[in-house]
């Protein structure tokens, strides 16, 4: 089965006053049809920049490498070619529902324009489809909402609208960038439920980006852990939680308080800071904070090795 999304040695770099910043540093990954992949990392790990580059939204950055979606190369493709795919077969939801919708256009317009643009529907037909999609994402009174402006909807509802917008053309892959971060915990749960339902129904692949392992745990088949612009571990979800192989992953898991374990006096934290943009990285970026670091880690860059569903980039992986 050909991969839905196939990324090879993708690098995203920005020109900065003090030099070049590698936000994404040689990332390769595959997402198969109907697969749900969780992408986890701290802020600055490059997880968002990675997928912005996939969508062609990297702005002034220099993007190198290869991104193939359903077999077709996206990097360097013409604008019309990218626009055919973007928003219809390959869609993205962003983390800030309060600012991600155009304030002066009605919800109905913002939804319908996707269909008018990609599926050639008339505006009336498109609004119908949009109304039904709002029902599917469980927005009450969908017809009324279609005529409203974004500021008349709550944050949770706006995020559902974003989700609806991403599903309108039956995408093969939906990228969800921290879809619940800006929302209340109760709403978070609802959104995650929706994502789960959507996966079940349409067989859409999902790339779920989050800094929160808990969010990813319930949904993902496979999890990618990113650090300093690189993938450091790639494992089936159950395996990752049971037996993490990269020290960073292990530390991350320790930070998640458990309902079942012993009561802790203090929440465990990771010492130190992730590398800042612009810090020179020759070897393993995690070495300064790694309890297992040795000399080799400080001089030689660990490469991502292993089978397609069990990879780790570490000289001394846990086992």
């Amino acid at each position: 089965m050909p991969a839905t999304l196939c990324i090879d040695e993708l690098s995203v770099s920005f020109a900065h006053r003090t030099g070049t910043v590698e936000a994404v540093d040689g990332v390769s990954l595959r997402i198969g049809p109907a697969e749900c992949v969780g992408v986890v990392g701290e802020s600055g790990s490059g997880k968002t920049q990675l997928f912005l580059a996939v969508m062609g939204l990297a702005g002034n950055a220099r993007v190198r490498g290869s991104v193939r979606f359903e077999g077709k190369e996206l990097l360097g493709a013409t604008a019309p070619a990218i626009n055919r795919v973007r928003g219809s077969k390959l869609t993205m939801i962003f983390q800030d529902p309060m600012t991600s919708l155009t304030p002066h256009l009605r919800i109905g317009t913002q939804l319908a324009e996707v269909l008018v643009c990609h599926s050639g529907l008339s505006w009336a037909e498109a609004r119908d489809v949009a109304g039904r999609m709002l029902e599917r994402v469980r927005i009450p009174e969908p017809q009324r909402r279609l005529g409203q402006y974004p500021h008349e909807l709550s944050g949770g509802m706006r995020q559902r609208v974003m989700l609806a917008m991403s599903l309108l053309c039956g995408p093969a892959l939906v990228i969800a960038d921290e879809p619940t971060t800006a929302l209340d915990v109760t709403i978070q749960a609802q959104i995650i439920e929706l994502l789960r339902a959507m996966r079940g129904e349409a067989g859409t692949a999902l790339a779920l980006i989050s800094h929160d392992l808990a969010v990813v745990a319930g949904l993902a088949d496979r999890i990618l852990v990113m650090y300093a612009g690189r993938i450091v571990e790639n494992a089936v979800a159950a395996e990752l939680f049971r037996q993490p192989r990269h020290p960073y992953t292990a530390e991350l898991l320790k930070c998640v308080p458990s309902l079942s374990g012993p009561r802790l006096a203090r929440l465990p934290t990771l010492a130190g800071q992730p590398p800042q943009p612009g810090d020179a990285l020759q070897a393993c970026p995690f070495a300064p904070r790694c309890p297992r670091a040795a000399d080799r880690c400080r001089t030689e860059r660990p490469l991502l090795t292993g089978a397609s569903t069990s990879q780790v980039a570490c000289h001394f992986p846990l086992s």
Binding site: P80, R84, R86, G87, T99, L101, E113, H118, Y149
Partner: protein
């Protein structure tokens, strides 16, 4: 929305009234009268003239009569142009000034906004710097320098366009005056639009629009334009003021029989009624523009509508 409009309208009328009242009394307070500049007339004749024009009545009575006439659209007689009433003078010249002003405003908007958008889309490129350099030139150099220069170039040397003169309905005559008049506001609007557009393009909702696979033109026109135009809307009233001011010189240089000349001539001749009439007309235009801009804000940003 209609309630919003009528509230604004209700606020505008007292403003206009205050302007009329203040202007009226200020002018009456001036030393000397409209007949001082004539050759010295015998006092009886001056008294007769004053009585004929109602200038011997107490000020309050004069004011009341003026207001009453105003409601009938009668601005009173001109003191200088003895055979005409101010209403007639304004009636002759106003359509020309209006046409000149509207065309200049339209040019400033419909050329300025696209230019500014173009510069924003090609941020930091040569085209951007070129456009913004031209904008500085447009802003810095006034109409009374631009118009004669243009006239020299296109009229005298190249013989493409007429330099001065007026024929009703002739567009060629208006080409240079409109261009010279529109240039400063056009340049300013281009600069405003560029800055505002650059900011809007950084917004999250524009990123969403691109992520939806919409073509560039749709993203700009449907999603970016309206928010980007808010500073331009704020500038509209000063723009109209600038165009009104500029029309004074443009009409004079190009020989267009608009109402601009009456303002200056009226001031020099101490023609009270004429100047008063002109002030009322100009104030009404500016206040009217203010109303339109208020409505525009509501259209540009739906959040304003609901706040009312």
């Amino acid at each position: 929305m209609t309630r919003y409009f009528f509230t604004r309208l209700a606020g505008a009328i007292p403003t206009l009234l205050i302007i009329v009242t203040l202007s009226f009394f200020l002018m009456r307070a001036a030393p000397g009268g409209p007949f001082d500049q004539e050759q010295t007339l015998p006092p009886e004749i001056v008294a007769n003239l004053e009585s004929a024009y109602g200038l011997d009545q107490p000020v309050w009575v004069q004011y009341g009569r003026y207001l009453k006439a105003l409601l009938h659209g009668d601005f009173g007689p001109s003191f200088k142009y003895k055979d005409f009433t101010v209403t007639e003078l304004i009636g002759q010249g106003f359509p020309i000034t209006l046409q000149l002003g509207l065309m200049a405003m339209a040019l400033a908007l419909f050329a300025g906004v696209p230019l500014g958008t173009f510069a924003a889309l090609h941020h930091n490129s040569a085209a951007d710097y070129a456009t913004m350099s031209l904008a500085v030139v447009g802003i810095a150099i006034p109409a009374f320098v631009v118009l004669p220069f243009l006239g020299l170039l296109f009229g005298v040397y190249l013989h493409w366009l007429p330099v001065a003169g007026w024929e009703p309905g002739s567009l060629r005559q208006l080409a240079l005056p409109v261009l010279a008049l529109a240039l400063p506001p056009l340049a300013y609007i281009a600069r405003l639009t560029r800055g505002s557009m650059l900011e809007v393009l950084r917004s999250h909702y524009i990123r969403t629009a691109f992520a939806k696979g919409l073509p560039l033109r749709t993203v700009i026109v449907r999603h970016a334009l309206r928010p980007a135009l808010t500073p331009v809307a704020s500038y509209l009233v000063p723009a109209v003021a600038a165009i009104l001011t500029g029309s004074l010189v443009v009409e004079s240089i190009a020989g267009l029989p608009g109402i601009g000349r009456y303002l200056v001539q009226g001031a020099v001749n101490r023609d009270y009624t004429l100047v008063l009439g002109m002030v009322i007309i100009y104030s009404t235009l500016l206040i009217g523009m203010g109303l339109i801009v208020d409505l525009l804000y509501a259209w540009l940003d739906p959040r304003v509508r609901l706040a009312e």
